[in-house]
Assembly symmetry: C2
Homo-oligomer: 154 residues x 2
Amino acid sequence: MPSPIKFAERVDKNAIENGSGFSPKFGNDGLIPVVTQDRTSGEVLMVAYMNREALHRTIAIKEAVYYSRTRDQLWHKGATSGHIQKVAEMRTDCDQDVILLKVEQVGPGCCHAGYASCFYRKAPLGEEFAATADKGIAQLAFSEEKTYNPDEIY
Amino acid sequence: MPSPIKFAERVDKNAIENGSGFSPKFGNDGLIPVVTQDRTSGEVLMVAYMNREALHRTIAIKEAVYYSRTRDQLWHKGATSGHIQKVAEMRTDCDQDVILLKVEQVGPGCCHAGYASCFYRKAPLGEEFAATADKGIAQLAFSEEKTYNPDEIY
């Protein structure tokens, strides 16, 4: 029987930033944001959220388990599609209010829209804004190709 | 006089995910989370937040301008330290509720604690948890060296 996972209490700023006790900050909604990055390419794949139980499970099974805010339940990524994320490394930031996962993404991609990464569109910067705006509204540019047909998976 | 930056209205899910109108979702607190990545190494440097004005300014000046939740004001990163972030690329995700910046970080690092990245500690995974826990509490491992002395900058 493995020991239950406990986190350190968040007592003082110095301990949180310079100590080794893992004391993740869950917001008022009980969630912490999670950035998930491809361990090999470094590409940022997605941003999602975990509650305390999702973080416990991710640590325990070394696969990404998030908390779905729309479905209001734990979300073992890839449990139905097979596109799981094997967690190679987990980090937290200075004030321990963000989790970073470096994963091996199984399958053709992580995004339900059919792309390898959820960040498949670029936003305009500087002079690009005026050059590309449509009736004054900022326009995105598609910068990635789809890697699969989501209609065949979901 | 440059045209004012306007975003598209968030009307239907399909347009948000598959369209080109840039329609960032600001939460109930008026903020959108931002992941900032080194454009060359791919290293995730930090996660912060922008309000509408911070996003406008970032697009306009091509340097990262966040909204500081602790100081409750716009935060032009590096304005005092000189450690600005030149934005090479901006992306958004499928549901347009996250911004990704790929930046050139000027200076020795982005983290006020003295590190190149805010993610300088690893969390335990799987069997590592039991092997490293202290009185049952999960322990972080420092995985990066400091790149500067924050006492000399801030």
